[in-house]
């Protein structure tokens, strides 16, 4: 299988803290990978570095989209990274609270559409067609995620679990080849988590989108991940399949004293 995301020596310093310390990581086409580690290990920072929110202090991030060439993307502004096909959700939900559910998803279509100010004012045929396509497509995504009934509700009024799923819907609207999920199951009840698990598997099989997720729910991580990476104090301390990680003494040691969410 082809590698679609690769980091080499990725390092991030905040003042004195090394939040990431020479992390090498790779995700292959069609995989579900998990990134785990105790709180403060640097997982979210890893996402921020590859999506351009933080410029990494050292190291490189490469992507090879299924339909394109291998490119180095560190230093690229956030919106350009998204346009290249990486989309993400946030650990602490960051929806657009006063916009409707559908509009939230429609914003995700921004980088795949073109209409400018003149188009908006004159509403020429092309713009109308594009706008219609945006609505159709966004609605279709909501249907697939199971939020279509709530399309016209304000995002702020959604229950917590639905907000998390809306974030995924919004990210899908940008047509990524790799979806980055930051603790998607956080705060969900077991039933919601199960539905989420199913959703993630469906995204992978039906849409051929690979997934890299940060998650604390070990049951979910073990059951759906093809490969798992473990971070501790900014360092990658292990990688492998669920079975390998489960038995790795280094991992167990890192988690000792940390509560398992499993």
């Amino acid at each position: 299988m082809e590698t679609i995301l690769e980091t080499k020596n990725l390092t991030m310093n905040f003042g004195g803290i090394k939040a990431l310390d020479r992390v090498d990581l790779d995700v292959r086409q069609g995989e579900i990978c998990a990134l785990i580690g105790p709180n403060g290990a640097g997982k979210t920072t890893f996402f921020n570095c590859i999506t351009g929110i933080y410029p990494p202090s050292e190291g490189d991030v490469f992507i090879s989209p299924p339909a394109g060439k291998r490119k180095r993307i560190n230093g690229l502004p956030v919106h350009r990274v998204t346009a290249r096909g990486l989309a993400r959700t946030f650990q602490n939900i960051r929806l657009f609270p006063d916009m409707t559910v559908l509009e939230n998803v429609m914003v995700g279509r921004h980088c795949r559409t073109k209409a400018g100010v003149l188009g908006a004012i004159f509403r020429d045929r092309i713009t109308r067609k594009e706008e219609k396509a945006v609505v159709t497509r966004s609605y279709a995504i909501l249907e697939r995620i199971g939020l279509a009934d709530l399309a016209n509700a304000l995002a702020r009024n959604l229950p917590y679990g639905d907000q998390r799923r809306l974030e995924i819907a919004r990210a899908l609207a940008t047509e990524p080849f790799l979806l980055l999920l930051d603790e998607p199951a956080a705060g969900m009840n077991p039933r919601e988590t199960e539905a989420l698990e199913e959703l993630i598997l469906r995204i992978k099989t039906e849409e051929q989108i690979s997934i890299l997720m940060i998650e604390h729910d070990m049951r979910m991580v073990m059951s759906i991940s093809d490969r798992i990476f473990v971070l501790d104090y900014g360092k990658k301390i292990a990688e492998g399949t669920a079975a390998e990680i489960w038995e790795n003494p280094v991992v167990i040691k890192a988690y000792l004293g940390e509560e398992f969410d499993a």
Binding site: G15, T44, N48, I53, Y54, F90
Partner: protein, 300 residues
Amino acid sequence: MDYFLELFIGGLTRGSIYALIALGYTMVYGIIELINFAHGEIYMIGAFTALIVATILTMSGMSGVSVLVLAFLVAVLYSSCYGFTVEKIAYKPLRGASRLSPLISAIGMSIFLQNYVMLAQTSDFLPFPNLLPELPFMEPYAHIMGSTEFIIVTTTAVVMILLTILIKFTKIGKAMRATAQDRNMAMLVGVNVNRVISTTFIIGSALAAVGGVLIASHIGRINFYIGFIAGIKAFTAAVLGGIGSIPGAVLGSLILGWTESFATGYVSSDYEDVFAFALLVLILIFRPSGLLGRSTTQKV
């Protein structure tokens, strides 16, 4: 050479005043990330209060240093109270609101205070008596640096030292630094954040009042609008030095003071305010984090 020195001293004096105001901006910004637009008005209120007190005292026959000291004290007291109240009314209810809300509230407060003073007092310029004494030992240097300038610069220096001691060594100073670094963390370790914020406003306002009395004595007239322009400039100085950084605010103020002094001295005095603004835009283009500011990454 004398002209150069005179401009240099002029810039230093200006810079000192800016520093006294800029510190309030930078401290508040460091703690609640808000441009306190009403800060310039606090400074103006300080100047007005001093003028009122000084006039009453002079007319009742007092004179000399006692007038100065009393006017100073009352001005500092009132400015601090105003600063404290402004925070309670206009900013405290907006903690946790979107970024835009406290900014609009701040500009509203600034407009309100300006017009409150204008309506209650006057829209004309009022002559301000020079409260600062003549110092005999400055006599020989009068053509370069007058007593007033000398007093302004030394007072500012003393105030800066006191402030540094306060922030470095007292309990509240430590709490302020902790809050500036990470408000949630500070709250977790038991810092009373509301108290820290109030204290910051009080200290900032007191410094502004000192600046207000000094500059009013120096220039010799005040009106309700003086806080507005001074506010923009002091903020420029704070940004120049690196917003949130206390030594930065002082450095930025001195550089701004000198820039203005030399530019008006050698280029043109009509455009005094334009130079500060040009400097602000230039910093924002070339070094948005300021001279001594660290470029911080917003936590996501």
